[in-house]
């Protein structure tokens, strides 16, 4: 699946998007965040403050317990500050 990163998370990860292939045991957004955070220092830093991480699955807001099995695109970003 495709992972997208925005704003401060994008800057910390060091890229805006990438293909990821989490193992099947990773079934929810929260588990995917934990899996990404374990990749390296940069990801650990990007995903350090779990409470401020928002996610979207296929361009719709998702929750930490949302299943990711059918997702083609998962985005991670901090709380929004538009308007």
């Amino acid at each position: 699946m495709k992972a997208l990163y925005f704003a401060s998370i994008r800057e910390r990860v060091g890229r805006g998007e990438e293909e990821i292939a989490p193992p099947e045991s990773v079934s929810t957004v929260a588990e995917l965040i934990a899996w990404l955070a374990a990749k390296d220092e940069a990801y650990a830093h990007a995903f350090s403050n779990r409470k401020t991480i928002r996610a979207a699955i296929d361009k719709r807001h998702a929750r930490l317990d949302s299943p990711i099995s059918s997702a083609r695109e998962i985005a991670f970003f901090p709380p929004m500050t538009g308007g």
Binding site: M80, T81, G82
Partner: protein
């Protein structure tokens, strides 16, 4: 049926023109509320705001919020325009136009739209400092979350059957 106008723009937009388009030829509108959000320079500290957005989701989320507003109030017209990219102090970031027969509905819809937009539309602001030092990402505000949450009960009911 009202079709809301949703627009993302990399350039400055013409708010007066948008209002003209919304009202053109109409004699049934009694109230128009226009909300404009502008970039501030914070007493000269900022030279610009960089507005990052999630292409595709930004449009669809704004449309979803607009549809929710239309389902809650008897609106006659609804326009939402949001900038992305570099926005200079004094420039407009967002415009919401809500037209209705009476003012209560127009005010409520415009406020609802802004409260939801602030917390749900995927845009992020980064400050560009006038002194050249690294700017910060603008922090989300507790009060914006609270303002959006105040509209929630109706949404929860609307969402549950889906």
């Amino acid at each position: 049926m009202i079709v809301p106008k949703i627009l993302l723009s990399a350039e400055a937009f013409d708010a007066a023109r948008e209002e003209e388009l919304l009202l053109a030829g109409r004699t049934d509108v009694g109230a128009l509320v226009a909300f404009t959000g502008l970039a501030r320079d914070e007493d000269g500290a900022l030279s610009a705001l960089e507005l990052e957005h999630y292409p595709g989701m930004a449009e669809s989320e704004l449309s979803a919020i607009a549809q929710e507003a239309l389902s809650r109030w008897p609106l006659q017209g609804l326009t939402v325009i949001h900038r992305f990219g570099l926005v200079r102090p004094g420039e407009k970031i967002v415009l919401v136009l809500a037209a209705a027969r009476h003012r209560a509905e127009a005010f409520a819809a415009a406020q609802f739209l802004m409260d939801y937009l602030k917390t749900r539309a995927p845009f992020w602001k980064k400050e560009r400092r006038a002194d050249g030092r690294a700017g910060e990402w603008v922090a989300a505000k507790e009060r914006d979350e609270a303002a959006a949450a105040a509209w929630e009960p109706r949404v929860s009911r609307a969402k549950s059957p889906r």
